[in-house]
């Protein structure tokens, strides 16, 4: 999800000057953007060697950790913002990590592929798992260990007493606020502890 408009849209949710923890920060592009354009500071968490290297090359602080081991290294509300951008679908302990995100950060921003986007529904209606630009993998060969929908996330957030501060969809870099569950390939949520 390195599309510039998508990144800009999510970056706009981060208050300027925030101290940010980016869970599953990839090559550090988002943190780099936040540091350069929004005067933020912070750290990325990554497990993949190549991504850790890419972050060091960019000059982005990166901590090599497996998120499935939890966030015990981080104290309550030790960050202004905790990001989970395209991370949730790779986690075994999604629910725990969601609660952890809200514990460590004053606010959490979560973005993930929305499985209820209409082309996916169409594909399922035809009896096949979707292969799209946003979910480009065959069902038998995918790094995603789960898929979920915009609505699913609302339910999970409510179950865990998280307050949704903002929620919308992103499609081709545009914000979708009308029927995002059907009309957007990416779901974006801004949450805090309720």
């Amino acid at each position: 999800m390195s599309d510039r408009l998508t990144m800009q849209s999510i970056a706009a949710l981060v208050p300027p000057g925030s101290r940010v923890l980016d869970l599953g920060c990839g090559d550090g592009a988002m943190l780099d953007l936040l540091q350069r354009e929004r005067n933020c500071s912070g750290y990325g968490i990554e497990i993949a060697d190549a991504n850790v290297l890419a972050c060091v090359k960019r000059g982005v602080n990166v901590i090599q950790l497996n998120l499935d081991e939890g966030l015990s290294m981080f104290d309550d509300e030790s960050f202004d913002v905790v990001l989970q951008i395209d991370t949730l679908q790779h986690l075994h302990n999604t629910e725990i990590m969601l609660v952890e995100t809200a514990r460590v950060g004053r606010i959490g921003i979560v973005a993930f592929p929305n499985f209820a986007h209409w082309p996916n529904r169409l594909s399922i209606a035809r009896g096949r798992m979707p292969v799209t630009k946003r979910l480009p993998y065959q069902w038998y060969d995918t790094p995603n260990i789960r898929v979920g929908t915009f609505k699913d996330f609302e339910v999970l957030a409510t179950k865990n007493r998280l307050a949704i501060l903002d929620a919308y969809g992103l499609q081709e870099g545009r914000e979708i606020r009308f029927l995002p569950n059907a009309r957007a390939s990416t779901a974006v949520f801004k949450i805090e502890r309720g």
Partner: protein
């Protein structure tokens, strides 16, 4: 890269943490690359238990005299001496050129022996700072070390925060665990109980407590490797046995070269070398006992034991690291059980709590603690990239020739290099 060791003398007493002081000492060091005009490209390399100032390069006319971190440091290497002015220094109390227990105490004209003052990581850092003063370097672009060397790098950021821009701390820890101190104590007892030790004054008896040194080295070696690597390297292989007559015939060309060598059944002996691992450990122990000083071994393992910056803060490492302003890179290795990743994570957490810049790489290398001296591409890549960032910050100052100092004879350089594969 041909390099020449140098030495700097210090007449002024250095106050030590113990309350003692030492005067009239000298430090052996080497430098690689050129100091730039604004003296902003200096990198200090701190050594671990049995290494020295000979960090990189080779000595003129001496084969196998590579520095102990030659894979990491040199022209075009991750710590690029075409860009950085790199300094290697031998610590006080060591046995490779700097003043140590085998030298004469100027206060009484006698060899120090066991009376050499106990030195700590903090004392070494103070001594290194004086060396930098002598070289005219106010601020380091980076201080770097592995294991005990990493402890020195960390301590630099606490003792002289304004003099360090970056710290690279590899396979290290904020202090030793009980198990780690226990290993050191076994090694020390092996040395001290050797009848040739003579309470540390063995020099005047013309002997060396080699038995103790051998055992100390053997136990050290076990802890530097992972179980898996040791099994892969040696497994349960039995030692090759050599039939002397057949070996002689082979040497004379009468039989095939490997004639006379066989791996047979057990010897059913309790004292002969039976397994390859025994042979390896005995060889390493023998080699070590030929060049390493027994008192130095005691001093350096004690410095390891004592290091604990959180001690003055009721064990609170976050408070202890508060003075550090440097930016950090930490690296650990998953199979390193002597300086385990969780120990590096403690440092990372304390730096995070203090809102310091830190990156941390946890390398999935199989080699245990030894990995920090080996060439894992992920490890080398991260260090290289980190130093490239430092290089960009510095920009390009015009280079000046290295600072001169008196040349030091090269004592057993081949030994220093041969012993590169052994850290702590």
């Amino acid at each position: 890269m041909i390099v020449t060791p140098q030495s700097m003398d210090f007449a002024e007493p250095l106050d030590l943490q113990s309350g003692a002081s030492i005067r009239g000492y000298s430090l052996a060091y080497e430098t690689y690359g050129a100091l730039n005009a604004d003296k902003s490209n200096a990198v200090l390399i701190c050594h671990a238990l049995n290494a020295s100032h000979h960090v990189a390069g080779t000595y003129e006319g001496q084969e196998n005299s590579d520095g102990w971190w030659d894979t990491m440091i040199g022209p075009g290497k991750p710590v690029d001496t075409d860009r950085f002015f790199v300094i290697g220094v031998n610590n006080l109390g060591s046995c490779f050129g700097s003043t140590g227990p085998m030298h004469v105490n100027p206060d009484n004209g006698k060899v120090y022996g066991a009376d050499f003052p106990v030195v700590t990581v903090e004392d070494w850092v103070n001594a290194q700072a004086r060396l930098l003063d002598g070289l005219g370097i106010e601020k380091l672009a980076a201080v770097m070390g592995g294991s005990l060397g990493g402890m020195q790098a960390l301590s630099w950021t606490l003792q002289y925060p304004q003099r360090v821009a970056h710290a690279v701390v590899v396979a290290s820890a904020p202090n030793l665990t009980a198990e780690n101190i226990a290993f050191n104590e076994v090694a020390r007892r092996a040395i001290v109980t050797d009848p040739d030790f003579h309470g540390g004054h063995f020099y005047q008896h013309g002997v060396v407590p080699k038995r103790g040194l051998r055992i100390a080295r053997m136990i050290g070696h076990i802890t530097y490797l992972s179980d898996d690597v040791m099994n892969e390297k040696f497994g349960r292989q039995l030692r090759e046995r050599i039939d002397p007559a057949a070996a002689l015939a082979a040497a004379q060309g009468l039989l095939a070269r490997d004639a006379g060598r066989s791996v047979g059944d057990y010897l059913y002996s309790t004292q002969d070398v039976e397994f390859q691992i025994e042979s390896y450990l005995r060889y390493q122990g023998d080699k070590f006992s030929e060049y390493f000083d027994a008192n130095t071994y005691l001093l350096i393992t004690r410095a390891l034991d004592y290091f604990d910056p959180a001690r003055r803060h009721n064990g609170n490492l976050t408070k202890a690291l508060a003075p550090a302003t440097a930016r950090f890179l930490l690296v650990s290795f998953l199979t390193d059980w002597r300086f385990a990743p969780r120990r590096s994570r403690e440092i990372v957490k304390a730096l995070l709590d203090n809102r310091r810049d830190v990156s941390y790489a946890e390398i999935d290398a199989p080699h245990g603690h030894d990995a920090f001296l080996l060439e894992d591409p992920r490890y080398m890549g991260v260090v290289r990239s980190y130093f490239e960032r430092i290089g960009k910050e510095i920009g390009s100052g015009a280079a000046t020739p290295p600072v001169g100092a008196k040349a030091l004879p090269v004592p057993g350089a081949a030994i220093l290099a041969a012993n590169a594969g052994a850290p702590a």
